[in-house]
Symmetry: C2
Subunit: 298 residues, 2 copies
């Protein structure tokens, strides 16, 4: 690797009511050796303390959608998270020439997504980290959300090589859960070990290809003319993240008990099924495409 | 029964982010026949619309703790829910001589409590309803939280015969879930059928005694000198609501992974284990006593 990783940022509480990341940051502040590796420095960041104090996902906007370069440079954006993004860009970035090489951002979901390794940048270093963690945690799922770094609005896009979003569920908001906590912790340790191995030129016996899922679209919940939700996730689909949804399969069930079926022409796969945080936009789930993810550089 | 039930209130959204009750109220407003019974009238109430709009449990205080007679009569209490309680007392009460005979209040929990039938008043009409619903829904659990009506601060204490709190979980806050929705719906229908049967003098073959759980105390999460949580529910206890906790069993696990054991001298039973809503007071679970509940009047 031409440019070794020198500085890693671990972020928790980007969504203020996702407490697992918040408490992992607090824990590591009192036990810093657990995240220290010899070849690079690791920083801990509580990224949205105002929302965390209020035990809310956000105060004004979703912080993890505020990192477009254009928005970071627009001083007219006055929302709490719009301001916070600018401060984080000063702390970690600036995005156009970042101080931080790689960001690990810890999230939780109310959906039954297990340990999902979300990466947006199709870069061999990033994909290699996801492959490495999947090798150590075989139940983890690779979740590819294709973006170029400068056209990405996630917090992790501030890192020079972008980063990895570790999304673990199911867990309610505002809650700690040991299994989710320890899964997140393990994924972070493996991620740091991977960076250490790459920095020091260790041979990593990674596969050249793994199966994963690519985000394609968000699927709205049915609403009435007033924008009120009229249906919920069908019980056959609840908790079935990363399972196949074939044409004619149930998607939703109305408040009156009527089933609404998937009308597409080909199978898709679900993720973020019944994620509480997406109710503010009446989103019921994401459709994903099952893909082979290729690691081009070993 | 000397005093038949003439007016029943069904309440949803007493906690604004418990969406199942909110959407059941909305559904029944468009399908009122489902909750109509011949011998009494049924009213639907969205009890905390401000908190529901904000998708929060409450704006200023927990609404379901604002119904002490003294507080209802104290015009100096200025919080959003303190004011709302006074309005609900006008709508349903007044508590000292209520217009409404019985309140059914629909709640959800992040704890794995299934369908819990929470009643505070040890009155044969109230206990009989819980027994009747349990007969129809054998997996439901009887949860007795002993209070006299005038010394109770729950919303349902505004009813002449108090009421029943239907608590269904696990479900994250801010979410709908069909299983939780339909369990709640069924419990309400059985409750209304019971009132109809009692009003019309039908013979109900109810048992004279059933096993249930009596609330004894709330158990705090371990905190440090700054009041910050230092431990979470132990994985062996997570989701084990209504299971026995024997002396020496694990209760909590610290952020650093150290187990904290139950030090009591006799067994207890857990409920509201890892309820997100109680993190504002750093409460980890409730201890319950397993009891035989006696139906004195058949």
């Amino acid at each position: 690797m031409n440019n070794p990783i020198r500085r890693v940022a671990i972020a928790g509480g980007t969504h203020g009511n996702e407490l697992v990341g918040v408490h992992l940051v607090k824990h590591w502040k009192s036990a810093p050796k657990e995240i220290q590796r010899a070849s690079f420095s690791t920083e801990l960041h509580l990224t949205n303390p105002a929302a965390n104090k209020a035990l809310r996902r956000y105060i004004d906007q979703d912080l993890n959608r505020q990192f477009y370069v254009e928005d970071l440079n627009n001083t007219g954006l006055m929302g709490c998270e719009q301001q916070r993004a600018k401060v984080l860009n000063e702390l970690l970035g600036p995005k156009e020439d970042p101080r931080i090489d790689f960001v690990i951002d810890m999230h939780t979901t109310t959906a039954n997504m297990g340990t999902s390794l979300i990466f947006n940048l199709n870069d061999p270093f990033v994909v290699g980290m996801a492959f490495y963690i999947k090798q150590k945690m075989p139940n983890a799922t690779l979740f590819f959300n294709p973006r170029t770094r400068l056209e990405d609005n996630f917090l992790m896009s501030v890192g020079r090589l972008s980063g990895l979003l570790i999304e673990v569920g199911p867990i309610a908001q505002g809650l700690l859960n040991y299994e989710v906590y320890s899964q997140t912790q393990s994924a972070v340790y493996h991620g740091l070990d991977y960076i250490e191995a790459r920095n020091t030129g260790q041979y990593l016996d990674l596969p050249s290809q793994l199966s994963g899922y690519k985000f394609t679209e968000k699927v709205p919940l049915p609403v009435d003319e007033d924008g009120e939700i009229t249906a919920m996730i069908h019980p056959n689909l609840q908790d079935k993240d990363y399972c196949e949804i074939a044409p004619g399969d149930p998607l939703f069930i109305t408040l009156a008990g009527k089933t609404i079926y998937y009308q597409g022409e080909s199978s898709v796969y679900g993720a973020f099924i019944n994620e509480a945080a997406y109710y503010d936009q009446n989103i019921g789930l994401s459709f994903m495409e099952k893909i082979d993810i290729v690691l081009n550089d070993k």
